[in-house]
């Protein structure tokens, strides 16, 4: 969430200096104001939400009567409204597709007539470094402000919700401060070339989601079943070091060293292994730094090659060198390495799950929970939780089992002596392994009298509650702490 807030600041703090603006009325049929109410979930008090706030951006009307915005504009929304520029006409909108990794979302007005008369804009050509474009903004009166922009770079970079990267345009543009600037379109010749997702008014530089990403997103969402961007499921290292090349018996030039291969990922299921030198993907040769030669962008990171170009389900072809022997392997692009994990990364629009037993609050570990600890979450959050999240692959956590942990203890007579405990990973309850909150609920629900024995990965190892007390005092506990429900599964 912090990343999103920063974006909000960047985009709304632009100052009206030196904007080479031009106004025009004939292009009004392509943009709408998008107003959203956002209310994030409170990970530390999973039964409630945080205070709401509003965002407003500028959405791009596509010819099919859909509105394209960044996903961060609608993350954890409670309401989305569209408003015509130059009039007060409003309409609520619903979400048709969203991809938090790619930071894109597609909205559909609930009133099919609302966008009647809007021509919509088509997708423009792919831009490269040095190209010029415009960033469009809406004036309060509905007039269009067109700011000259220059593409500084086109390469793989970070997206707000993703540690890996996708193609990103670096954009230089001087944006005046206007409302509705949380999302802004990057245009060229009246066609959509990108969506601005961050802007720093000091350097007057920003980043934009480029049109190939938008094309991928729209194509994927066209059939109503959104699959998302594929991923290889590997960690890799550059192979510039001649000594390392010799050690891994790499050919004279090119290729990268795979330092970890997730067995369930695209690469792993195609047969690639740790220690292999990956020489080419789908016929594109990789250099020692992991770049392929893109016909438009020049040397570009493998990230674009394997994540944006293919779709889930496309076939993949790899050329590798294993112990000095070159071989070809084939597979199918998918994103299981990203989706099938024990501890998911960021989650939006999903209420955190929890189960309260006699004052012990259990939650399932997610990246979103850890991020709640702030910018320095990896230092401030309980170290065991950080470890299980960050090193889950090398620890070979079973992706089918979730990490259930005691997040806090609500003091009561039942939990006397336990109040100070938090951040403890639960392994068993009454001797049975726990791999989800549902597991825990069904174990606990089956016991109506006697002990409930919780076993944890770390000190103090074991806690005990009286099952009948847990049952009988649940309502009272919820009442005294104002918790509407003792579980959300």
């Amino acid at each position: 969430m912090t990343a999103f807030l920063r974006l909000l600041l960047w985009l709304s703090l632009g100052v009206g200096l030196g904007a080479q603006a031009a106004t025009s009325t004939d292009l009004r049929g392509s943009l709408v104001r998008v107003r959203t109410s956002i209310q994030p979930f409170d990970q530390f008090r999973p039964w409630q939400k945080k205070s709401p706030f509003g965002l407003s951006g500028t959405g791009v009307v596509l010819p099919e009567g859909r509105v394209l915005v960044t996903a961060s504009l609608v993350a954890n929304r409670t309401e989305v409204g569209l408003e015509k520029p130059g009039s007060a006409e409003k309409c609520s909108a619903e979400l048709e597709a969203i991809d938090y990794e790619a930071n894109l979302a597609l909205l559909k007005p609930t009133d099919p007539e609302f966008l009647k008369g809007f021509a919509g804009v088509g997708l423009g050509p792919h831009l490269k470094a040095g190209d010029t474009a415009e960033v469009w903004q809406l004036e309060r009166n509905g007039e269009m402000l067109r700011n000259q922009a220059e593409i500084l770079s086109a390469g793989v970079g970070r997206y707000p919700s993703d540690e890996a990267g996708f193609l990103v345009y670096g954009v230089r543009v001087s944006l005046p401060k206007r409302d509705d600037s949380y999302t802004l379109p990057l245009m060229r010749n009246g066609m959509l070339s990108g969506m601005m997702m961050a802007y720093d008014r000091d350097s007057q530089e920003g980043t934009a989601i480029p049109v190939p990403m938008i094309e991928h997103f729209l194509k994927d969402s066209a059939d109503g079943k959104y699959a998302g961007f594929p991923t290889l499921g590997v960690s890799w290292s550059t192979l510039r070091d001649p000594n390392l090349r010799e050690e891994v018996k790499a050919p004279l030039t090119g290729g990268i060293l795979l330092t970890r291969v997730n067995p369930i990922g695209t690469a792993g299921r195609a047969g690639l292994k740790e220690g292999d030198v990956l020489l080419s993907v789908d016929g594109f040769k990789l250099d020692e730094d992991g770049n392929y030669r893109d016909s438009l962008y020049g040397p570009t990171s493998i990230g674009n090659l394997v994540r944006t170009r293919p779709h889930v389900g496309s076939s993949a072809k790899f050329k590798i060198s294993r112990n000095g022997n070159e071989m070809e392997l084939t597979g199918v692009y998918d994103r299981r390495a990203r989706d099938e994990v024990a501890v998911p990364t960021l989650q939006f629009d999903v209420a955190p799950r929890y189960l309260i037993l006699g004052g012990l609050v259990f939650q399932e570990l997610t990246g979103t929970y850890l991020q709640e600890w702030g910018d320095k979450w990896s230092e401030r959050a309980p170290q065991r939780l950080v470890q299980l999240f960050s090193f889950q692959q090398e620890m070979k956590l079973d992706p089918k089992k979730k990490i259930v942990f005691l997040s806090q203890v609500l003091p009561s007579s039942m939990t006397a002596g336990y109040q100070h405990l938090s951040g403890l990973v639960l392994t068993r309850c009454n001797g049975q392994a726990v791999g989800s909150l549902e597991d825990l609920a069904s174990i606990a629900d089956a016991v109506s009298a006697g002990d409930l024995v919780f076993e944890f990965m770390d000190d103090p190892g074991k806690l005990v509650l009286d099952a009948s007390e847990v049952k009988s005092s649940g309502d009272q506990l919820g009442k005294s702490y104002g918790i509407p429900a003792l579980r959300k599964l």
Partner: protein
């Protein structure tokens, strides 16, 4: 066992200012208080081969029987030159450190010139003062050059972190006297007897009128310990326990609701209790003192934490425990020993930093000092190796994790600089468990040396012939006279419980 609170700071005065008044009545103390001026050297863990930076500071001390001078360990740590001076004698006498106990922040200093002791009467040690009773603090704090005396009352008697060691907690007495940098090592007096040594306090922006002194049980233990000519470390029961206040937990363990007993939740292997206590044991008494369910015992009528019983003992001393195990009462006796596995969390003062230099790659053992200099840049794996070293008993497999602490740039290692900060797993196929493993492992293997790290990092590969050629160049360039320093001085590492006969 807990890490030191960083807001507590030790009171050492680094600069000198002018003029101050004096108190004429408290002559007995005045005769025996000494100013300790120290020039010390602090090792630089970034450049472990360098002798370190020199600085001067001032503290206090006092004369006890046998012409011995007591002060704080932090006053004299890293000392290269010490002088002591009495209020009644303008001469400065050179002094030497006789014993130092960094774990309880005490040190003994001796002066060869017997002239120095002329007119001293030696202060004797008192007991733990009563709460609210008045004490006087003697020292040479900021604000002047001559002896300063302040008064305050005893505010609290409790276990507290001793920040100098970085990890130890012992009994400490909180007083509200105005004590400041330069008071360190000075006596705290009540009825002409020493009741404590002033040693640490909070920074002014954190809390006011909160000062701490080392009480006499800790001082007496130190004096007892050094009788055999060496100072040994404190001993530790090396367990974790939890209070036993929860009724359901008590019932599960089969204990009546009598408010007694704590439950053992973790036992550190290689520690005093290893093989004797078990997880889930309920400790009912220690050396005959009943243990309350909050972990306290009564000592001379005062409630203190059960560790206080162990605190006053020495290596090899027995501790008798009454243990409720699996619904049966048992008796257990353990023999106390120092907890070497926690030495990772000790700040090191005297011993020079250890390292191995290889082709510009600087290998250092993981220490609190190294973490101190890497602090901001340390990556997650390194931080976790450090913070989970005790908790996860990493020391069993790796008594001393070795870190590629830095890479000194040279044409040889141009592709390896990004690997600084990684935890070394193996070199030329040999698992690295302590720094001592590094040099022999580097000599093994073929024409290339392969260094592998924890996690999914690429290995570092170097050609042995090229390294041999580059070493004189690198050492000359960076002013390094020794390619390694691996001897462990004044410190014991965890033994580790991995199989010693394993094949590579």
């Amino acid at each position: 066992m807990s890490l030191g609170r960083k807001v507590l700071s030790v009171w050492l005065l680094g600069g000198l200012l002018g003029g101050c008044g004096q108190d004429g009545q408290l002559t007995e103390a005045k005769k025996n208080v000494v100013m300790v001026e120290v020039t010390s050297q602090t090792w630089d863990y970034r450049l472990p081969w360098n002798p370190g930076t020199v600085s001067s500071a001032r503290g206090a001390g006092f004369v006890i029987s046998g012409k011995r001078i007591l002060t704080n360990a932090h006053v004299i740590s890293g000392a290269r030159y010490i002088t002591v001076q009495r209020e009644a004698d303008p001469r400065k006498y050179p002094a030497k450190v006789k014993f130092v106990a960094h774990d309880c922040d005490l040190a003994m200093v001796e002066v060869e010139d017997k002239e120095f002791f002329k007119g001293t009467t030696a202060l004797s040690l008192g007991d733990i003062p009563q709460l609210e009773s008045v004490v006087s603090v003697y020292g040479f704090p900021i604000g002047g050059d001559r002896l300063s005396v302040t008064r305050g009352v005893v505010s609290r008697i409790d276990y507290n972190a001793y920040t100098h060691s970085g990890r130890e907690s012992h009994l400490a007495i909180q007083i509200d006297a105005a004590i400041n940098p330069g008071n360190s090592g000075g006596p705290v007096i009540q009825a002409d007897k020493v009741v404590g040594v002033a040693f640490q306090g909070f920074r002014g922006d954190v809390a006011q009128n909160v000062g701490y002194m080392i009480p006499t049980p800790v001082i007496r233990r130190f004096l007892q310990d050094v009788k055999d000519g060496t100072y040994d470390h404190y001993v530790d029961i090396a367990i974790r326990w939890m209070t036993l206040e929860n009724p359901a937990m008590r019932k599960y363990l089969g204990r009546p609701n009598d408010g007694l007993g704590v439950v053992v939740t973790d036992i550190f292997s290689e520690g005093s209790s290893d093989g004797i206590l078990q997880k889930g044991d309920v400790l009912l008494s220690i050396d005959g003192h009943p243990i309350e369910s909050d972990g306290s015992v009564r000592l001379q009528g005062q409630p203190v934490q059960l560790e206080e019983i162990v605190e006053r003992k020495f290596a090899g001393d027995p501790v008798a425990l009454e243990v409720w195990r699996k619904h049966k009462l048992e008796k257990a006796t353990l023999k106390l020993r120092p907890a070497e596995m926690f030495s990772m969390y000790e700040v090191l003062y005297e011993p020079p930093p250890r390292y191995v230099l290889y082709g510009g790659l600087v290998f250092q053992p993981l220490t609190t000092n190294l973490m101190g200099v890497l602090a901001g840049s340390a990556d997650l794996r390194l931080r976790q190796t450090y913070s989970l070293f005790g908790q996860d008993q990493i020391y069993r497999e790796t008594p001393e994790p070795v870190i590629l602490a830095s890479v000194l740039p040279d044409p040889l290692n141009v592709y390896l600089r990004g690997l600084a900060g990684q935890v070394v797993r193996e070199i030329n196929g040999t698992r690295i468990r302590t720094l001592a493993d590094v040099e022999p492992a580097l000599r093994e293997g073929g024409e290339r040396t392969v260094i592998r790290f924890e996690g999914d990092q690429r290995p570092a590969v170097l050609k042995k012939a090229e390294v041999d050629q580059a070493m004189p160049r690198i050492m000359a360039q960076y002013g390094i006279s020794d390619a390694s320093r691996t001897e462990v001085i004044g410190r014991r590492l965890a033994k580790g419980s991995y199989s010693r006969t394993e094949t590579k």
